[in-house]
């Protein structure tokens, strides 16, 4: 029983990692950059929701929609203002940019008087609700995360696999020059991707808010989502989820059965082991240049 409860807890936590990892993978698949500001976008999304509910007095669901839209717009803006000017530079430059964006995002939120430095709660309708199923405690907040993660993953997977735009996004990440030659509007797609990933971040932020609270540093949880994405194979959407679940469950079990310290490093140990055994992750493509 205890074991099952731990696994359930691990799955719930894993879905959180997976959800954030989805955001990483999305950007990576479409632009081949790693967005170290994903956590901050998530934080901004949560603050948007908070603002919509407290300042504008929106009901919860409306606030959710508003926050997602606002963040999508923000993502577009971000792309136009800071990412686009260096489009085409090595991916690493963009990675550095995202560090900068992260700093600025966190700083700006912190600068808001009386709000930025505080921790807030988001009044979600299902707060603190639990289902008791045969002695197992199921947390509604976590169930919401699980459900949303599954749906998002399926939708994004389909987009990348079957839609022309999704394939074009991958194409421009693999060879931008060729994408231009084909008439793919690389810039527009790039905006779209950033908008999309900011929206995904907003969803993650809103789902996480009841679990981790809303505060300027809530984005740091993203540091655990990286290992999740890597374990699954960085370019794979289902991989992000599976990676998240693996890490969540390993964390949960090692937290209970192993001495202190293992829970917090479990994610990192798992990722190192994975990289030794299967360097491209579970679902990662086997990449080899043909000469």
């Amino acid at each position: 029983m205890q074991f099952i409860q731990l696994v359930i807890g691990g799955i719930a936590q894993g879905c959180i990692y997976g959800l954030i990892a989805l955001g990483f993978v999305l950007i990576y698949k479409a632009t081949e950059t790693v967005n170290f500001a994903q956590g901050e976008l998530m934080m901004l999304g949560a603050f948007c929701g908070l603002a919509a509910m407290t300042l504008l007095g929106f009901p919860f669901w409306l606030a959710v929609v508003a926050a997602i839209l606002a963040m999508a717009a923000f993502g577009l803006l971000l792309e136009t203002v800071v990412i686009r000017p260096i489009l085409g530079q090595p991916a690493f430059s963009v990675v550095m940019l995202t560090f900068g964006i992260g700093y600025v995002g966190r700083g700006l939120i912190t600068m808001i008087p009386n709000i930025g430095t505080e921790t807030h709660t988001l009044a979600v309708p299902y707060k603190d609700e639990i289902w008791n199923a045969g002695g197992l405690v199921l947390n509604v907040e976590q169930m919401a995360v699980i459900a949303a993660t599954a749906v998002l993953c399926a939708v994004l997977y389909a987009v990348f696999k079957y839609s022309k735009i999704g394939i074009a996004m991958q194409a421009s990440s693999q060879n931008q020059l060729a994408a231009y030659y084909m008439g793919i509007p690389v810039k527009r797609l790039n905006s779209l991707v950033w908008g999309l990933s900011a929206a995904v971040a907003a969803i993650a932020g809103l789902l996480l808010a009841p679990i981790t609270f809303v505060h300027a540093n809530m984005g740091f949880i993203g540091l655990k989502a990286f290992p999740a994405a890597v374990v699954g194979g960085f370019g794979s959407l289902p991989g992000a989820i599976v990676g998240g679940l693996i890490i969540g469950v390993v964390e949960s079990l090692s937290g209970y059965y192993l001495p202190d310290g293992f829970k917090d490093t479990a994610a990192y140990i798992v990722v190192l082991v994975m990289l030794m055994v299967k360097p491209n992750g579970l679902f990662g493509e086997k990449l080899r240049k043909k000469v």
Partner: protein, 265 residues
């Protein structure tokens, strides 16, 4: 488009006036003016580093010219977004293949048709392409990056065909192709030109092929156009014969030692 009217050889579909492009401080082409008439095949000859690729890249908006202007179908497309230029019906088959290595061959072809919205036409052209290059059909699900060099070249050309453009810029299409396929490629190029009325601007090291297949030719040296004429006449020029067609009087080894360098300046 397959539905295009038969070729009306006449009006210039592409017109470069006084174009100058540079990489940083290095000027690669200067004062280049050329025209390609609708329905024609035009070719640019030139030795290594003459600036042929640079001309094509400037036309398709990959590099912005420092000076001069480029007109396509009467509209000024100087320094436009590459994507916009393609939408107007100008496709560039780049030097060095530039396939999408991690997409399947099929998806690569699909990307070639990105700007099109007529599904039926795309399906039809896909079949045409597969008929031209059956190996691509066999490998439709393989990652394009794993194709052999020549197969990738076929894919690059096919992608351009998939776009059903009005003008194709071809940068060394025969690079790395077997002799048999080189001929076939040129046949295909000529066929596309004849059957679909697609105008073609061709850059090719195989001058013999190029001069035979084209209507009009330009010779480029050190970034400047030094000669232009119909191909029929170019084929007869001594300089062309010697330097581009390899018909030297004496292939003596010693000659190379003091390198008779061609120059028109």
């Amino acid at each position: 488009m397959t539905t295009n009217p038969p070729p009306v050889n006449g009006l210039p579909v592409l017109k470069l006036s006084n174009v100058e492009s540079a990489y940083g401080p290095i000027k690669a082409i200067r004062g280049v003016s050329l025209q390609v008439r609708s329905g024609d095949i035009a070719t640019v000859l030139g030795s290594n580093g003459a600036g042929k690729t640079t001309i094509l890249k400037t036309i398709s908006g990959i590099i912005d010219p420092r000076k001069g202007s480029i007109e396509f179908k009467g509209a000024n497309i100087t320094a436009n977004e590459p994507a916009r230029i393609v939408q107007q019906g100008l496709v560039h088959v780049p030097e060095g293949r530039e396939v999408f290595p991690l997409l399947s061959v099929h998806d690569n072809l699909l990307m070639g048709a990105y700007t099109r919205s007529d599904r039926d036409g795309v399906v039809r052209d896909m079949e045409t392409v597969y008929r031209y290059f059956p190996i691509l059909k066999d490998r439709a699900d393989q990652d394009a990056g794993l194709l052999s060099g020549g197969q990738q070249q076929m894919l690059a050309i096919s992608r351009a065909i998939m776009a059903a453009p009005d003008l194709i810029l071809l940068d060394e299409p025969s690079l790395g192709l077997s002799p048999k396929f080189t001929k076939e490629i040129f046949e295909i190029v000529v066929r596309i030109n004849r059957e679909r009325g697609t105008t073609i601007l061709l850059v090719e090291q195989n001058a013999n092929m190029a001069l035979n297949a084209s209507d009009y030719g330009y010779v480029l040296e050190n970034g400047r156009i030094v000669m232009e004429d119909t191909c029929a006449r170019l084929r007869e020029k001594d300089d062309i014969k010697e330097f581009y067609l390899g018909m030297k009087e004496a292939g003596v080894r010693g000659e190379r030692r003091w390198k008779k360098k061609k120059t028109w300046r």
